[in-house]
Symmetry: C2
Subunit: 460 residues, 2 copies
């Protein structure tokens, strides 16, 4: 079993790893070279986590102080910095020693746990009552924010499919188009909700419209992704399992979840706090849901999100947030940003053609969200300033985009070059949001006293 | 990189794993059989965590309700149940499918993270002022609780060394004796402290003496373990690195830690809560300390514990507890109990000889702690009831024992048979504590109104 008679000499083993990682396609581990002892895993894990959290905090802090960006922007960038595009480019041996490929699966597991928990928490604060206020404008903005992306995806995907390596070989044009559409249509809904709530805009035109359209567009995008995942690659048996499994789970939670979970909510209300037993039950349900949606072939995050929507509101969610969020946000999510960053190879965007593709995708993405939502708001009677504000917020994609493209990469829907391009698109559209929103809406609103101060520490 | 073009069919891959795990020494993975995709890791991880937390909670609950045992006892037993001794014995294929060996390193990493954080939290509530109250009795009990175990270890270790497989080949009698002594001398100090505080015994004779002696004996035992780890196996270079590294770290934290960390404490006091930034700094320091002590060859838990002792007290530790403990206790520690349980092969205690060894070690352990501490308390003037109560509490070894023997197993100091025997010793001495304490002290004290109700949910 786990008997480790040789003492782990970290510095010496590090040299081995450097050699291993520099030939990433070598048969390392499969050809009888020294396997990792358990101790190697924990030594690397502790070092990685220290470096990951330092990077996320430092870059996040710089982003906040210098560029007035929310923390999440800094962490997205920190992940890319830790990967082959920067840390790996300038200090290849050190980077390889810190992030040997033997550790990738541990990092991956932590990252999936992190985004799963994150989407679970997003689910717990997902409010259906965002829909249906402000009838006509809301419908128009929602519809524009979902139809323009898919329309433009229909236009550019045939071209993208002619470039080898962007999509999986043999992917159908239908699936490729749906995936691109979902990538473009996604909004950093949680970041948007937090900005709007923190600034007291929830009852303004801008707040209502953005929240409604953001929630609606994200819900549609994730459903489309689920369809792609269910139908891509595995043949009819796999698709049936995914569709039947996913739909049954969602229907079960929607119809019975609230009622079955209500007693947990009452226990917390009565006690005034969440006992360890109740929290353990919540964690068990979370792991089961994530496992189920992962096992049927959709993705763990759907399990987390759907379960989250059925959790009792009020004190229960408040207590859950206090107990789960710090750890998820400070320790686990940075693992996701790093895992994503380790797969981000900006050097793949190195030809004129790739650069052109990157610019086109960026332009199309901005046009499809900023442009379309602005136009829809204007056409249904909103003033210019509100419409611009809505467009700016709807255009930010944040962590949501990283989640969807990591799923696409992991499931083999897209290749590394398109992944890198979409990482750039995610970062640029998210970075744009704050200054554009300030310029078109925030500054004037603050002058007229309608808007509070710029909040720190928003996170998509 | 991480491109996973084949969709993970969990049930099908499960069949493969069953085959793999049933031939644990086969060259699986090294001979070209299908390697795990990242998705396999997350699917298994979510399933494992669900099962692990369910097992810990259910067995813990049964232990509390039926046997009036603290939660930790149930979780120790739950780990053994999930391992080869029960789950693996009756449902070998299912057990192998849930806990394939490919996942062991992920579980190991989570387990190390869990005990590291746990020992960090123990460090934060470690109070030096426990020492030095009640002069003579305190010294006598402390001294008895550490000298009797090492004396008895000197007596039985030569015999144990004649049995092949209990200790590593070629281990010196000196190191084997020290390790055995530390195993026998350890007390479940955190559990003891919690029982005493929760029942309002902190200022009683029993409370003062147990806390002083428990803290002192544990501190000595861990120092002895550090010496063993530093000098075992690796040759002089490794020993020097371990000793110099470990001592420098400890001295640095002891002399400068409090002062350097004080500003963090003030930030929390001023704000009235712990910001994410402060918590991130704490986590970074924790990971760096754990990494450092792991890398020099001692063990991550020492890094966590020593750092913990230097953390600012008061509001700071209170807030830290709220943010870190739920997750550590509910999600991470059960991974440790399970990892430990997966290595516990009770079938190795299958001969008359092994059974005899197990009984002798158990008897010696009870004699060395219960007996010696009782006697020391009586001889320095404590009444019979108090002395018995002290003996009962000092005899519980709880999670602390599991930590030390897992380190012994991982570093190759002891083999699987002795590991299994010491797991039994840990469980039996911990299970004994509550009923014996009740019988000799608690019942009468409660009748006379000196003692509060039995608390739920104590944890070693």
């Amino acid at each position: 079993m786990i008997l480790d008679f040789t003492h782990a000499e970290i510095w010496q083993s590090t040299v081995h790893e450097i050699a291993n990682i520099l030939s990433p396609h070598g048969a390392v581990g499969a050809d009888g070279t020294r396997a990792y002892t358990p101790n190697d895993f924990s030594v690397h894990f502790f070092l990685q986590l220290a470096i990951i959290i330092i990077a996320c905090r430092v870059v996040g802090w710089l982003g906040q102080k210098i560029l007035h960006q929310p923390q999440v922007v800094g962490e997205m960038i920190a992940g890319v910095i830790l990967g082959p595009s920067l840390f790996g480019l300038f200090l290849p041996e050190f980077q390889a020693a810190v992030f040997p490929k033997e550790m990738k699966n541990v990092l991956y597991t932590g990252a999936q746990f992190g985004v799963g928990l994150y989407m679970f928490m997003v689910g717990t604060s997902f409010r259906v009552d965002h829909f249906a206020k402000k009838g006509k404008s809301a419908m128009a903005v929602s519809f524009a924010g979902i139809s323009a992306p898919f329309l433009l995806a229909v236009l550019i995907t045939p071209w993208l499919l002619t470039v080898p390596g962007l999509f999986a070989d043999g992917i159908s044009q239908f699936n490729a188009t749906l995936f691109m559409g979902a990538c473009i249509a996604l909004t950093a809904f949680p970041m948007l909700a937090r900005i709007i709530n923190e600034r007291g805009l929830a009852n303004s035109s801008l707040g209502t419209l953005s929240l409604t359209a953001g929630a609606f567009d994200d819900a549609v995008s994730w459903c489309v992704l689920a369809v792609v995942l269910a139908t891509f690659g595995g043949g009819p048996g796999v698709a049936v399992l995914a569709i039947v499994g996913g739909v049954s789970f969602a229907l079960f939670v929607i119809f019975f979840g609230r009622r079955l979970l209500a007693p947990l909510g009452r226990m917390v209300e009565e006690k005034g706090e969440m006992s360890y037993t109740v929290m353990a039950v919540v964690m068990i349900l979370f792991f089961l849901s994530a496992f189920f949606m992962d096992a049927v072939g959709i993705h763990a995050i759907f399990g987390g999100f759907i379960l989250g929507t059925a959790m009792p509101r009020g004190k229960f969610v408040e207590e859950l947030k206090k107990k789960v969020e710090p750890f998820a946000v400070i320790v686990l999510l940075p693992m996701f940003f790093t895992y994503s960053g380790l797969n981000t190879r900006l050097d793949m965007v190195n030809s004129l053609e790739m650069l052109l593709i990157a610019l086109v995708i960026l332009a199309v993405s901005v046009l499809a969200k900023f442009g379309a939502c602005y136009l829809a708001a204007r056409l249904t009677g909103e003033d210019n300033r509100t419409a611009l504000g809505i467009g700016a917020l709807m255009n930010a994609r944040g962590l949501m985009e990283l989640i969807i493209i990591n799923i696409g990469l992991q499931k083999g829907i897209i290749g590394l070059p398109l992944f890198a391009i979409l990482v750039l698109m995610a970062i640029v559209t998210t970075v744009m949001a704050s200054p554009v929103f300030e310029a078109v809406y925030g500054k004037k609103a603050r002058e007229s006293g309608e808007l509070g101060a710029v909040p720190d520490n928003t996170r998509s």
